[in-house]
């Protein structure tokens, strides 16, 4: 009986800690407000879903000034840092500024389906790449995610 109560308490504690950990990653470091979701690995020619997410990790509503329409961008480089593709390269962006209020715990998401190609439109060779998301705020403020490794492997 005591063991069961102890187990329940342990479970409850674990659930509570897990509930409190939404502002830190598994290592206990503070979570970044801007993150990029992308697969770790794709087959050559396969569509890559890129998702840029900004989370309000504070306990107060946050006001974000989003610069330009669209205000976000994605960049892919080789693992040595050489840029091979940038979504907005050469595109004309409208110079508008949008004010977004994000409630505590809420998020903004920006998504793009990308065929893994370089700026000239040629398919990227299999290899190791880095993907990064960019969110333009009230200029010159810009937020960038940490580069995320992306492996393009040969078709099976």
């Amino acid at each position: 009986m005591i063991a069961m109560v102890w187990m329940c308490l342990t479970l409850l504690l674990a659930m509570t800690l897990d509930g409190c950990s939404n502002q830190s990653d598994k290592s206990g470091r503070p979570e970044e407000p801007l993150t990029l979701e992308a697969p770790d690995e794709v087959e050559a020619g396969q569509t890559v879903n890129l998702k840029l997410i900004w989370r309000n990790l504070t306990d107060k509503p946050a006001e974000l000034n989003l610069g330009g329409r669209p205000p976000y961008d994605f960049v892919v480089t080789t693992d040595e840092g050489k840029e091979v593709w940038r979504w907005l390269a050469g595109q004309t962006v409208q110079d508008i500024l949008e004010i977004k209020t994000v409630d505590p715990g809420q998020k903004l998401e920006f998504m793009l389906e990308w065929q893994p190609v370089n700026q000239a439109g040629a398919a990227l060779a299999p290899g190791n790449y880095l993907a990064q998301g960019i969110l333009n705020l009230d200029p010159p403020a810009v937020l960038k995610t940490k580069p995320k490794p992306l492996i393009i492997r040969n078709k099976k």
């Binding site: 000034n65 989003l66 610069g67 050469g90 595109q91 004309t92 409208q94 110079d95 508008i96 977004k100």
Partner: protein
Amino acid sequence: MYRKMLVSVVVLCALLAVSFTGDTGKVAMSTGKSNPVVSAAPAQTDQDENFDDRLAKVAMQVPGFGGMFFDQDGTLQVYMVGQKEPLSASSMAFLEDVIAREIGGGERLSSRGMEIREGQYDFLSLHRWQQQMTPEVLAIPGVVSTDNDEGKNRLHIGITDTAVREEVEKHLSNLGIPPEAAVFTETKPMEPYLRSRRRPLRGGLQINFGNFLCTLGFIAVRNGVTGYVTNSHCTTTQGGVQNTVEHQPSASGTTNRVGIEIADPTYFSGSGCPAGRVCRRSDSSFIQVPHPSGPAVTTARGTIARPAVNSFTWNGVDIFNITSEGSALVGQAVTKVGRTTGRTAGTVSQTCVNTNVSGSNITQLCQTFANYGNAGGDSGSPVFRITTLPSVVLVGINWGGNGTISVFSPITQIQQELGALNTCAGSC
């Protein structure tokens, strides 16, 4: 005691004069019959009259009127002192009539309904208190603004620090103004920026609609109507008129309401527009100033704010004068003034470029490329060639870029789409 008596008398008058027997607190626009005016508004020239004066005119005809505002649904909310019950249909119609006449310039403002809220103070008292307190209170260091806030049925005082509040309340008390009639907001001091509230309106200032910020291009007269030109995408929908309400520098009830969109040609397909896309020859719209249900707004046609190069700080005095309109050829220097990057200069690199707009199916035809600095918020900025300072030739309005190229719509094409515009102080 006197104040209590006064409030009681006002409430009593309100009850008697507007016959509060009511059946509903919310009515649609077309209630049909309306009541005649029961008392004349005081003689005053429109030029001297501000928006608060117009609200005071309503209060003179509708005892107990405490102010009004639109809620998020567009429903007109009207404060009536001590009014706990809904108004009768006839009283509502009478109130609508007076508001339409004094505030709407004849237009009914309750197209999405009107609701009565219980108010604490009648507008005339707030109006008088506002006039009494402003000279004293605004002189207190740390006070940023004073307002008769028709959206709150209170006096509204902006302060930089809560410590200032006690000092302000002493002054209010000395003036016989009940402290509970005032609300305080902590705010930043007004900086001399293109992003600050500026009157008269002129080119280069920050404007706002909805949740967006842009830049006022230039003041112009179109078909005898005064207004300003900004980008089509600085309206609710790019292309087509949605009567977008615009503010300068940003929305604050109706206080900063400056205009309403009245011209924004729709985008067309075919006729030289690439397949699958829609086109225009300029990214421009025309905003009538003032807004029919907003405060009086002064404009300075033919002028553009003149901050220092690469600065958006502006002293409110230095201006560029538009003396003519013209084109900008490859190699010519052009300058723009916008709320985000301020005054920047560059050189025209290409003319008559057909360019797609990112994230849309829009193609802008025959646009001009340059390399002046621009960024989000600079949409609508005036672009011009400096001849002899402070004289300039207006060449267009900025709308976008890609980090290395900035793009503007030429003035000739803006006028092809919006019609003839008089943009100079005299004529040009």
